[in-house]
Amino acid sequence: MTAVMSEDGPLRNDVDGSGATDLMPIAPVRWTERASRRVLAGVDAFCNRLYSARFNPVYQSGTIVVALYLVLVVTGLWLILFYRVGAPWESVARLTANVWIGNWVRGLHRYATDLAVVATAVHAFRMFAQERTWGARALAWVSGAVLLLLLFVCAWTGYVMVWDTFGQQLAQAGARMFDTLPVLSEPTSRAFTGEQPVPTVFFFLNLFAHIGVPLTMGVVFWLHVKRLHRPLLLPPRPLLWSTVGALFAVAIAWPLEMAPKANPFVLPEHVPTDWFVAFWMPLARSVGGGTGLLIAVAVGLGLVAVPIVTRRRGTAAPPPSVVDEDVCTGCTQCAVDCPYGAITMIERVSKRSDLVAHVDPSLCVSCGICSGSCAPMGVGPAGRTGRDQLAVAREFLASPRRVRGEVVVVACQHGGGAFAGNIAAQGGVPYPVSCSGNLHTSVIELLLRGGCGGVLVLACPPRDCWNREGPVWLVERVYHDREAELQARVDRARVRIANVGPGERRRAIEAVAAFVKDIAALEPPIAERLPEIDTECEPVPIDAG
């Protein structure tokens, strides 16, 4: 996984952009993950070009779902004022006929549901492609699968509420599936045969479910983000309002029309269908209720089983961070920076400091962000702490291939690391790391004092970071004096950070070429023979106090 800190040395790791390493699980899953990453890289690069990395809707797919959820709650509360369980179709028809109070709002409600399904699918695909499905992230994945199921249930109840031909089809398909379960002695399908009018209590229960399910979704969503530190819930405002505005515009430009009222004595030739929530209908109709339910259960179990099949096992599993208590000063920065809330500060018994960092292995995803946040380099996954990074950098500098004044391009293996060949072609020396966020700033200083002309860090776009906050913390540490900062004595003209996604080859080439050109215009660096980097704290045995 990591290049800089691995035993193989910095230049012998996977930097081909596939992200394939020795941590991969079984072959078909590995192949699927790699293929997904390629697709995602292309889509991300395209959207970055169109919308910029800050407003890339694919990066923001998760927050867009939350925004749409809020839109659905607000529009739903409005629509429910006009809904009558005793006359469902008639009340919705009256609402739809009235442009000012209903049609646009109903259109927005409907399209927001559809986009929520799409955004949820994109978000899940993104998490799968980026291997963020297992270990400490399994809870988020499983709760996400439950949220998707609840979204479909909510959409199902919403369309049944209307009680048009589409709602009738959904109700019948759902009843056929439900009837295969040995729950009720009388099948629910009986309600829709035409023997009697569909009872009002059915629409009341359906309405109850349509309100209750979103409330349940709120609770599951809390579980979904429970293991995240500082979860981002909403997209940037311009993206949020653009999304809502675009949906509202299409609701106005293309008003909704009512489908015919449900009639148990007529078989409609065509039914206007919302394919985002009813894509399964043709299959369910062709295979029957029991098989349809089995398929649905199998798909659900398959989604829930993803954390199991993608999990890295044994030596392939990246180790969680550990704290060297002899070095830890109790500064709390690692606990603040950890994107997963895996580090807490606990009381220390010795006199060295009042607090000492403690890593909860069950929450740690081995992202290594703490390695970059710890000034004395006392925390991080085994082999990837700041001190380990310095050792690898020294080995890199000691290589006979090193030339004074060359430009080192530190590249995240999930992003710019894919373009090692292009970096070299532009005159840069690729230096792959597992994540720019766990790069300790002392490594940058060491490289410069060791004779490198400049250090360019190709970090992923902030919202594309596999470890959530890596590029953000890196910028803070290099330019804004965040703890474990790049020392003031380091010439900032020789350091640059560029954001490059895994599909942005051209951007990477341009960034490297520009930096190499700028460094060439500077005075040649003066290399120190054996630069010593201040590690601030040398290990002090706790017993010594």
Binding site: R110, T193, G194, L247, W254, V266, E269, F276
Partner: protein
């Protein structure tokens, strides 16, 4: 270049939301053929078939007072046979049992048969298979379905019409509904 990208972004966004609105109302072929449907749907209480016996004095004495019944009955619900003929051809032949794991609940009939549009002679028979024995008791909770129900009619099926055959518990006979009759 930036202007071009912005224009492209606008076009792509418009295409996406229009695509969403389009796929949100795209017709699904629900019933492609013009066939009509003969729907048989009803619910009724089946006849209960019981074997009853009087317990011996010793057996009664061995039981707590509140369980000392003078007549002990074991039984089940009767089975029924549903036969449907369309223009004399047998198109459905099913055994129908009561609901629940012990088949002691109400029975439920629900079958849909595709039939071509036009006139047809429909013959529906619902006949009890099991007969109560002489030792049966008649503890019936509510009205049970008759031992034999029959409907024999010439019907006109319009394209994509559903004709419902159901059981009228008040008149204790099968009847036809098609939404207009």
């Amino acid at each position: 270049m930036q202007l071009l990208n912005r224009a492209l972004a606008l076009i792509v966004t418009a295409a996406i939301v229009t695509g969403i609105a389009w796929a949100s109302r795209l017709p699904m072929a629900a019933h492609g053929s013009s066939d009509a449907v003969l729907r048989l749907a009803w619910s009724a209480r089946p006849e209960r078939i019981e074997e009853c016996r009087a317990p011996s004095a010793e057996e009664l004495a061995s039981r707590p007072k509140h369980m000392q019944q003078k007549l002990i009955c074991d039984g089940t619900a009767a089975r029924y046979r549903l036969e449907v003929r369309h223009d004399g051809r047998l198109v459905a032949d099913h055994e129908v049992r009561g609901g629940g794991l012990r088949h002691d609940r109400r029975l439920y009939v629900f079958h849909e048969l595709r039939v071509p549009p036009g006139n047809a002679h429909v013959d529906v028979r619902f006949t009890r298979i099991d007969s109560p024995t002489s030792k049966s008791a008649s503890h019936q909770r509510g009205e049970v379905v008759p031992a034999r129900l029959a409907l024999d009619e010439q019907l006109t099926f319009r394209p994509r019409e559903v004709v419902l055959v159901t059981y009228d518990a008040d008149d204790r006979e099968l009847e036809i509904e098609d939404g207009e009759r």
